[in-house]
């Protein structure tokens, strides 16, 4: 089933990518082309094999000690200097208007 422009607009809203002008039409065309290329994968959905999410062989349980790593801590200016806007010691964002997060 092909993706409609409406579907693509919904994905763009979710992914926080504003599509302007004829970008919506172009993106819709691209996504449908790309999804066509991916068709060969569909038949593997029902394969009776365990999925591989990590190409790391038998590597498991990688953990670190609960020890403070002071060396890696960033000084305040290193943390804030790349930010588009900040106030005092904090990062700043414009009005959230009740949008988004629920944690």
């Amino acid at each position: 089933m092909a993706l409609s422009e409406n579907d693509v607009r919904g994905i763009a809203d979710y992914a926080r990518i504003a599509l302007e002008g004829d970008e919506l039409a172009q993106m819709t065309a691209y996504m449908n082309d790309a999804v066509d290329i991916l068709a060969p994968i569909l038949k593997y959905a029902d394969e009776d094999v365990a999925p591989t999410f990590h190409p790391i062989g038998d590597l498991v349980n990688v953990m670190r000690d609960d020890a403070v790593d002071a060396e890696r801590a960033l000084p305040l200016n290193a943390a804030l200097d790349n930010a588009g806007s900040s106030r005092g010691r904090m990062f700043r964002v414009p009005s959230i208007l009740g949008d988004g997060g629920d944690n």
Binding site: Y14, P94, G98
Partner: protein, 560 residues
Amino acid sequence: MKELAEVLKDWEAVIGLEIHTELTTLDTKMFCGCKLSHEDEPNANVCPVCLGLPGALPVPNRQAIRSIVKAGLATNCQIMKHSMFYRKHYFYPDMAKNFQTTQGPIAFCMHGHLDLEVTGRGAAERPACAFGEAEAQSLASASANAVGLSTSMSAQMPEGGTAGAPAHMAGYDTSHLQLAERHDDGSYTVPIRILRIHMEEDAAKMTHLGGEEGRITAAAESLIDYNRCGTPLIELVTEPDLRTPEEARLFMEKLRRIFLTLGISDCSMEHGSMRCDGNVSLRRRGETKLGTKTELKNLNSFKSLHDGLAYEICRQAEVLEEGGIIYQETRHWEPSRKRTVVMRVKETADDYRLFPDPDLAPYDLSDEFVDECRSELPELPDAKRARFEASFGIKRADAEQIAGDPETAAFFEAAAAGLSGKEAQTVANLIVNELVAYLKAAGSSLADSGLTPAQVAALAKLLASDAISSNQAHEVFGLMAESGDDPNKIVDARGMRQVSDTGALQPIVDEVLANCSDQAQQYRDGNQKVIGYLVGQCMKASRGKGNPKLFNELLRAALS
């Protein structure tokens, strides 16, 4: 709106809790070595990982994994050896990566339960009709069509069902799950199933400026402090097995006592290191289909948890009884106005695009790892309470309160060691009444107070042997806490030792009766209450040193 008791006669409330607990007793964050602290200046404890800088990679904190395994063992969960971290995506700047690293369909801990003992006045919240066969049907239908997780991967849930068990019991060890049964005193015990406890990371703290009361909706801008971002967080999700606000409150209290005893968190609801969201829906008694649920936020104290749920139950009942409909929405409890208000409406299920985090190796926990965690489990509050009741002979309520706080429990055990049952109960009384009140007034913790178990034991002996009165004990408690002195020394120095020699007290009684012939006559005429006045006069005459109990006895004897 109707009262809760009235509502719950007609309606069944189906309640589930999601409880987040920060592992505050660790030294560092979940996936990086940044210091954990609630106190430091904003953005003082950040690094490339917790700030989500391009190229940074997470490495899990072993101690956090041990903590969650202990939490699972202490709540009768199965420890899942094979699990993974997943990425849960939503765009919100308190998540530095715009995804939260959490767990997928399989959490470290699955399918546990806690037995909830509901006693006292709160037990009356569950009406008589909610026991027996009705309860069995209610449980089966509630969890069978409850939505456990908002993940897109329910198809990949592990098999794991208990053979022959009803669908809603899949995964649970049913031999431990008994239906609630009400005792003559109104109390009952009900098992609350725990769907899962998973490991995740906390978000940053945001401050909303320019709006009313710091509320997000009207704020002109928001400021972000990433110190908290990446704090190890465990989320416990119950099955929708709770039926009253009191049960919810007791569950939370019980869980808090367990986590405190495990030493995995300071469990401060005030500071947000333990947080609770509630899901609640109503259905008519006997109905098997679940109603639409609302999600309650800001239930950040035991009182809020109870009162917020109670309000929401009554609100939903009113809406439904007026023929209205409940919308699936998130609501905010406002304790000052005693109401819940809409935060946001969920029209469709959130799509978090969960997938296994490729940066984190999967888990294959060994038996040794789990056994080591098990071997480090301390005595849990229920066992400790039972032991305090059995070996010290103290009252159940006191034992429960003392056993629930590991520091207090250790203090009690040290103080009560070698004491008689009466003395031990006196120690318990002093802890539950005097100690708690003193620490609260002094704004101090037990450890910082300087009080020793030996002091409290000595004071208990004085009190139990009637050497001093309760009023005097209160005074001595304050003095010994301030000075660090032995209570015997204080009592002797101040000449407070109570006179319990009948020979010395009888003349005082005689004198008082002579002076208060009116009151004496009233007593003889049947006014028992007047004895208090007479005891007071005796105390006054003895300058506070006479044993009030003995005075009482001598007065009654003289007047009979």
